[in-house]
């Protein structure tokens, strides 16, 4: 498995709060291959964003990575000194954030924000960086990019802001892009455009990507491989077609059902009853057991071991359809 761009092994990131330890990411394994788009899906609060922040080592206290390793091109990022990690951030691994309105600095122009990472990582002059920025924005479908580049974020529409964010993320030719809910804050019509943009980038630049989303439509549209995350743990992984056509974990099944009932009017709405456990509680069995329609006695006693099937992996004692 040496061809993997990113290999996360047994990663645990905990938040040490006053109320107790929140195990936001709990023993997660994840592999991203060359030119592969990997989706991490799950409902809000399941630890998806913490996972991304852990890979970038952007966590602030009280969050802390407690165990595991993150190999990027076979270098363990968790063992790098901060200064080396800084040279990887924005250059080799970059990030697209959920809400472009608040992730862009309101007091700096688009140009100032795009140029600063290029002059830093690529060691090119400001003029060169500026013309590169214009090129990138043009490729991302912004008309009159040389005007837009002089604008401040508040003068841009939501879609334009997200394009600028994407432009910033790819400006230094990264090998891996982490996209944390890249379309969530956008209008549906813009969402489609941005998704197409991401697909195009992947094709043209040979990028590897991790797309974090709660939107199954997004995951289905652009991912090769899917990891389903629940309460800080990966519960199921597999190729996108397999997971969507024949979900194995009851949680994935429920997630798909509830998503489909939104799109297909005739379909009776199905919800997953209850809420995810508070990650502070110590739970013995499967974290999903209290909400599961398919549970067996064993689910309440012991956390499921992974079972493998045609390159798929699921953590469940009683998978759907067996």
């Amino acid at each position: 498995m040496n061809d993997a761009v990113l290999r996360v092994e047994g990663l645990s990131t905990y938040y040490y709060t006053d109320k107790g330890v929140v195990r936001a990411v709990d023993g997660v394994d994840l592999v991203v291959g060359e030119n592969e788009v990997v989706g991490v899906v799950g409902e809000s609060g399941c630890g998806k964003s913490t996972l991304a922040a852990s890979v970038m080592r952007l966590l602030q206290p009280p969050a802390k990575i407690v165990k595991g390793s993150i190999f990027f091109r076979n270098v363990n990022l968790l063992e790098l000194p901060e200064e080396e990690m800084r040279k990887i951030r924005g250059k080799k691994i970059s990030m697209i954030f959920q809400n472009p309105a608040s992730y862009l600095n309101p007091l700096l122009t688009v140009e100032e924000q795009m140029v600063e990472s290029m002059t830093l990582h690529l060691r090119i002059s400001k003029q060169e960086a500026a013309s590169r920025a214009v090129n990138i924005l043009e490729k991302l479908g912004i008309s009159a990019p040389d005007t837009v580049i002089k604008y401040y974020p508040h003068q841009l529409s939501g879609g334009m802001k997200q394009r600028v964010m994407i432009g910033m993320a790819i400006s230094c030719n990264p090998e891996l892009v982490l996209a944390d809910e890249p379309t969530t804050a956008l209008d549906p019509t813009i969402q489609v455009q941005i998704l197409e943009q991401l697909l195009e980038l992947r094709k043209n630049l040979g990028l590897s990507m991790v797309v974090i989303t709660h939107d199954l439509g997004v995951a289905k549209a652009i991912c090769d491989k899917i990891y389903v995350m629940y309460a800080g743990k990966i519960v199921e992984e597999g190729k996108v077609g397999d997971v969507f056509n024949r979900p194995l974990h009851p949680y994935t099944y429920g997630l798909l059902e509830s998503a489909l009932s939104v799109y297909e009017k005739d379909r009776p709405a199905k919800f997953i009853d209850g809420a995810p456990p508070k990650l502070v509680e110590e739970i013995k069995g499967c974290y999903f057991a209290n909400r599961c329609f398919n549970k067996v006695d064993r689910c309440l006693i012991e956390y499921p071991h992974p079972s493998f099937k045609n390159g798929r992996k699921v953590y469940c004692w009683n998978p759907v359809g067996d």
Binding site: L58, I88, R89, S94, F97, S102, L107, E116, Y152, M165
Partner: protein
């Protein structure tokens, strides 16, 4: 572009508003001073009881004190528009001259401390905010509270006791020594006189600036664009100054704006404690001697300074934040 035009009209409105404000202040100040008890004639003549009523009346007439208040007001406003503020009863000199002689020492003292406070306070605030709840943060915070809660005259006396009386390092009074010759010697002498009053004001104001910067920096550091800046791999110093500090400037500008207004008058206590020949002390003595024209002149100057510094503050907001520049 139209934004350019908008900015000009924005500026014009602000300037016109400032002039109106100064006129209103002038009116209120004039009324207040004339309604206050005490008769300047007592101080002009040094005990009116020794003089005949005819003589007192003639002095009153000479100084224009016999005219009704509305007439005095009209004369004052007309003179004000010509840049004249009347004559000091005590010094017998034009008020403009009396005040002008006292402005440079005050500006020197307040300007020096303001620059020091802004630079040192900002750095300490940024440092404390970048390591919240560290020992350094607690140290800076406790010192700030100590500075804010210490009475200024008491701190001044303590510093005089320490540096002048016990250690004999710095002079406690005045701005210059007699019998100092030469440019360089004069400069050193001025610096040594400047040290204690500046230090007093510095220690008092430092806490306020530090706390303000720390709070707004903590807020800015929590913003998502700071996460984005870190995700770009920018060095921490650049994240702190270019991204976080710029976004936390507004409260600091407000604070400095308020302080600028005080520049000319806020030194009353310190100037009195250290016998600094500035405007603060002039105001203090003029009030004591009912020298109305001087009091009124200082009052006007300080109010104008406050109005102008408010104007500058608003322009600075617009300079720092493009969103304000665009809105109206």
């Amino acid at each position: 572009m139209s934004a350019e035009y908008d900015f000009k009209s924005f500026l014009l409105i602000k300037v016109v508003r400032s002039f109106v404000m100064v006129f209103i202040i002038l009116t209120i100040g004039f009324l207040l001073i004339h309604l206050a008890p005490g008769d300047p004639i007592e101080f002009i003549l040094g005990g009116a009881g020794f003089y005949t009523p005819e003589f007192i009346a003639s002095v009153r007439e000479r100084f224009g004190l016999d005219k009704p208040i509305h007439e005095k007001f009209v004369i004052y406003v007309l003179n004000f528009l010509r840049g004249e503020l009347g004559y000091s009863y005590v010094f017998g000199l034009p008020v403009v001259e009396v005040i002008a002689a006292r402005v440079p020492p005050t500006l020197l003292l307040m300007g020096t401390q303001l620059v020091l406070v802004i630079v040192v306070g900002s750095l300490l605030g940024i440092l404390a905010a970048s390591r919240p709840h560290s020992k350094l943060d607690y140290l800076v915070s406790s010192l700030s509270v100590a500075g804010i809660s210490m009475p200024i005259f008491w701190l001044g006396l303590l510093l005089i006791f320490l540096f002048s009386v016990s250690l004999g390092l710095f002079p406690a009074q005045g701005m210059t020594s007699l019998r100092v010759t030469g440019w360089w010697e004069g400069f050193l002498d001025l610096l040594s006189h400047l040290f204690l009053p500046t230090l007093t004001l510095f220690l008092i104001n430092l806490g306020l600036v530090t706390r303000t910067v720390r709070t707004s920096m903590l807020e800015a550091l929590r913003s998502e664009f700071v996460v984005a800046a870190r995700a770009k791999g920018l060095p921490e110093r650049r994240v702190l100054f270019r991204h976080a500090f710029r976004n936390s400037l507004t409260p600091l500008i407000t604070l400095i704006g308020l302080q600028l207004g005080w520049l000319l008058s806020g030194a009353v206590i310190v100037e009195t404690v250290f016998a600094w020949p500035g405007m603060g002390r002039l105001l203090f003595t003029s009030i004591g001697s009912r020298d109305y024209p001087v009091v009124m002149g200082i009052f006007l100057l300080v109010s104008t300074a406050v109005v102008v510094s408010n104007l500058i503050t608003e322009l600075l907001y617009a300079y720092v934040d493009p969103r304000i520049r665009r809105a109206k």
